[in-house]
Amino acid sequence: MVDALSKDLMERSFKERRSFAQRQRDVEDIIERHPDKVPCVIERYRNEKSLPPLDRSKFLVPDYLTFGELGRIIRKRLELHPHQTFFLLINQRNMAAVSKTMAEVYASEKDEDGYLYIVYASQEVFGSDRLESAEAEDGAA
């Protein structure tokens, strides 16, 4: 029983685990204390099988870091080696230019609740229709 519950928890995304109001409060709180950092939720893309999961999902990222640098740091967290492909997607569809700062990305892509939502995957996914079709294939391969 407990196992099923925790499995369920694990599979639910961040948004599914906390209500909108809770998330909004968390962000306001953290931004007050760390105004120079961008609150990010970084999760593994749902259908991703070959990349490992991260220990944590909430990240505070210095706003002057570039998106590319964030990618490198996450790669290191995952201890990937260079041949493992790895891509960061914002709001499940965008690959921001690697040279954009997190501040810029946050300004244009932040969610209503105040978080910046990022997923990582091992296949480059262009556009939401691709992503949707990938979801459709879920379980087939």
């Binding site: 709180d29 953290i30 204390r33 760390h34 950092k37 490992p52 991260l54 220990d55 944590r56 909430k58 990240f59 505070l60 990222v61 210095p62 870091l65 590319g68 640098e69 964030l70 490198r72 740091i73 290191k76 967290r77 995952l78 201890e79 990937l80 080696h81 260079p82 041949h83 493992q84 492909t85 790895f86 891509f87 690697v98 480059e124």
Partner: protein, 776 residues
């Protein structure tokens, strides 16, 4: 890379001493909030190069030095106008520059203040400056490519400096102990997590080359060694799942115990053959003198581990009559037993190791002789002054290096350090898994089996061998030719033989393409960023993974020292690219005549081009290598005039479009053009000569050191690290030999590995014909 520090102020000093400590307030705060994890209270001292140390780099350094995970501020001690000492904030490159200029003699004194710990950060992963790792300052290094003279040493010094300024990876605190900041490896030792990334869902090792690269760069965490060593040592056949490996080990272990029982039972029954007696005597004498100061073997002579070592070696000797037991084997087997802590698995690993090392124990001494010759060559090449000195003292026979060569330098470092070195050394070699299962015996020993006794046991008297003759011909030009040639079992001197040179150069075309060379990972990361994660390239790289190495061929031929069938002998045909050896010959001739390579769709051209690409992306000898890859194509023409002609022809053509090649992630025409332009600037310098000369004189990776080039560079590093003191003190043969003897178990493994990696990578980048990937 130009830093603001470089723009603002021209620092003439090459190094600034820094000492830093954490503030008392911070210590207090930390001890209250995290009493189990106090930061170190003492000073940390290190040196930085002001020309390339930015504020961010300094932050990284300090974060690592004090294992700081959060934010912190830096202040430096300065004297104000009245001479009073005060702490000023260090917040930017400007501040740092000012600090270097005004307050860094005798050293820069820094105070670290941690920002208050924030309880509310529970659940948050805070990314800090410490996480961000900058690649090494490769462009800075490249700018120095123009220097003539001792080009290589200067390059290395620069690279050493840039390496020393950059730290990487978050798990370095344990790593800091005893390791000077300058000599840290480019990545932390392989962790369990990283290891698991190499396996597929069934536990198959899907990237054996990648595994080796990773180990080469940073070694393995001690707790993981017993697992990963078995892969690096080629214990398992290819592609086994985890379950298959478990079963395989079980089977092999049972086999070992059977082999052991065969002779131990005989002994119990009082049946002891002459061979058994001889071997048991020799082995027992030697295990009592092997690593006895190590806790694993220490204490009284009936230490169980000593006994295990005895069983392993005796079982091996009886079942491998071609080499039997020979002094030195106990040193080689000992780390296996300590690491595996399992008698059978240690035996299996030892057998796997001996597949490669058996030739070294051959009574004829040819394999060792070859290594001596190559080491001599390397030394002449990299440090002709020192070589002259040795020659004048009759010490150019390098016989004091014998132990290094036989034991693969195992005894030159403390035991634990030796483990670090060995795994790096082993992973520098390409994978060569057994085809089926690793055979645990040559001929199964038994009381009934009528197998020939080991020649070592039979003959007490050896004829005077070739070894002495070869070693004493210290000024022989046979050394210049590289590997001595063997005809009918007799080594023949072929001074300055065109044919032998051609053939040894020709080896480049096949051997080294088997070779799995390794170079700098950071260049790769940089490239990754620049190319915005070009999927196409990465995808292709995966698909175009080369076929299985047939490294065994090379080892066998190493054994017989290149019984030479003629200059154009090809030991391995390329996979689908180069076609037959004859075609390849024709290609060679074509390039000799000055046509450029672009017309040939051979793999050799691709690798040349891709090696150009790799150069551009930031290794220090990029430009020189482009020239030298060209020289690869004109190997037949030794005189300058022809070389120049070809060279100009090459320059003027447009770069070819890159086709599939499994070389690298680098790519694409615009970059190739810029590469060529870069290379042009360096081509006129002495760099060209050096690398061209190197390539014509040095054996290729597949041959050097009997196909163990990294080890040769390890030996070279040891020699060069002591050449100054030897020359300064005017040591004679005996004195310098004693000097090295005194260094047994005392060499600094990190320093040695560091320098060796650099030299080795430079050597690989001389542009051997190879479709190898840079170590990334």
């Amino acid at each position: 890379m130009t830093t603001s520090a470089g723009i603002l102020a021209f620092h003439t000093r090459e190094a600034v001493k820094v000492k830093a400590r954490v503030s008392a307030a911070t210590l207090h705060r930390r001890s209250q909030l995290a009493p189990s994890d106090p930061p170190p209270a003492e000073w940390r001292r290190f040196s930085v190069d002001p020309q390339i140390t930015t504020f961010e780099v300094l932050q990284n350094l300090l974060a690592k030095a004090f294992d700081i995970k959060g934010d912190f501020t830096i202040h430096y001690l300065a004297k104000d106008d009245e001479g009073k000492e005060t702490y000023l904030g260090l917040l930017s490159d400007w501040d740092l520059d000012a600090a270097f200029l005004s307050s860094s003699m005798p050293c820069l004194n820094l105070l670290i203040d941690l920002k208050p710990f924030d309880e509310g950060l529970e659940g948050w992963d805070v990314i800090t400056p410490a996480d961000l790792v900058k690649p090494p300052l490769v462009s800075h290094v490249r700018n120095n490519a123009q220097q003539t003279g001792n080009f290589l040493m200067q390059q290395m010094e620069r690279t050493l400096k840039s390496f020393s300024k950059v730290l990487r990876g978050p798990e370095l605190s344990g790593y800091l102990n005893g390791v000077t900041e300058r000599y840290r490896a480019s990545k932390p030792p392989m962790s369990r997590r990283e290891w698991q990334n190499f396996l597929d869902c069934e536990g198959r090792l899907i990237q054996p080359q990648e595994l080796r690269r990773s180990v080469f760069r940073g070694g393995i965490e001690p707790s993981l060694r017993n697992i990963v060593w078995k892969h690096v040592l080629n214990v398992y056949p290819d592609d086994y799942t985890k379950d298959q490996r478990i079963q395989y080990l079980k089977r092999q272990s049972n086999e070992y115990y059977k082999l052991k029982a065969t002779w131990t039972d005989m002994q119990k029954q009082g049946i002891v053959t002459e061979e058994m007696q001889y071997i048991m005597n020799m082995v027992s004498k030697d295990v009592l003198r092997t690593d006895r100061t190590h806790r694993f073997y220490a204490g009284s002579d009936d230490n169980k581990n000593v006994a295990k070592l005895y069983y392993i070696l005796t079982t091996f000797a009886l079942n491998h009559p071609s080499v039997s037991y020979c002094q030195g084997m106990s040193d080689l087997a000992s780390p296996m037993l300590v690491t595996m802590n399992d008698e059978a698995q240690a035996y299996i690993c030892f057998v796997a190791l001996m597949q490669r090392l058996k030739p070294n124990f051959n009574i004829n001494g040819l394999a060792i002789t070859e290594k001596f010759a190559h080491l001599s060559l390397l030394l002449q090449h990299y440090d002709p002054e020192f070589f002259e000195y040795l020659k004048m003292n009759g010490a150019d026979d390098l016989l004091y290096c014998y132990r290094w060569l036989l034991l693969e330098l195992k005894r030159e470092f403390s035991f634990d350090d030796a483990l670090c070195m060995l795994e790096v050394l082993w992973s520098s070699l390409p994978p060569s898994p057994p085809e089926k299962e690793l055979p645990l015996y040559e001929i199964r020993f038994g009381k009934d089996s009528a197998h020939p006794q080991s020649p070592r046991v039979l003959t007490r008297e050896n004829p005077y061998t070739k070894v002495r003759r070869i070693r004493k011909q210290s000024s022989s030009s046979s050394l210049l030719c590289g590997t001595p040639k063997v005809h009918n079992g007799v080594i023949v001197n072929e001074p300055d033989n065109d044919e032998s040179r051609r053939s040894s150069l020709n080896e480049i075309t096949d051997d080294s393409q088997d070779y799995n060379p390794i170079s700098d990972s950071i260049a790769h990361e940089l490239r990754m960023d620049l190319e915005n994660l070009n999927k196409t390239v990465l995808g292709n790289t995966k698909d175009a993974t080369p076929q299985q190495f047939t490294f065994d061929n090379i080892i066998e031929e190493g054994n017989t020292l290149l019984e030479n069938d003629g200059p154009w002998k090809q030991r391995k045909t390329c996979q689908g690219f180069c076609g037959t050896p004859d075609e390849q010959c024709e290609l060679d001739f074509d390039s000799v005549e000055g046509e450029t390579t672009q017309n040939h769709g051979s793999r050799r051209n691709l690798s040349c081009q891709s090696s150009l690409d790799r150069r551009r992306s930031g290794s220090s000898t990029s430009a020189s290598t482009s020239a030298s890859s060209h020289s690869d194509l004109v190997q037949e023409k030794a005189d300058d005039s022809d070389y120049e002609d070809d060279h100009h022809a090459y320059r003027s053509k447009a770069p070819p479009t890159r086709s599939e090649g499994y070389c690298s992630e680098a790519t694409l025409s615009s970059k190739e053009v810029s590469c060529q332009e870069d290379s042009r600037s360096v081509l006129d310098s002495g760099v060209l000569d050096f690398s061209r000369k190197s390539r014509s004189l040095l054996p290729p990776p597949g041959q050097l050191g009997g196909s163990n080039p990294f080890m040769m560079f390890l030996c070279l590093t040891l020699l060069l690290q002591h050449r100054d003191v030897i020359i300064r003190k005017r040591m004679d043969y005996n004195e310098l030999a004693m000097h090295f003897d005194k260094m047994v178990r005392k060499h600094n493994v990190h320093k040695v590995l560091h320098e060796t990696r650099i030299r080795f990578e430079e050597y690989l980048r001389l542009g051997w014909e190879a479709s190898w990937e840079e170590l990334v």
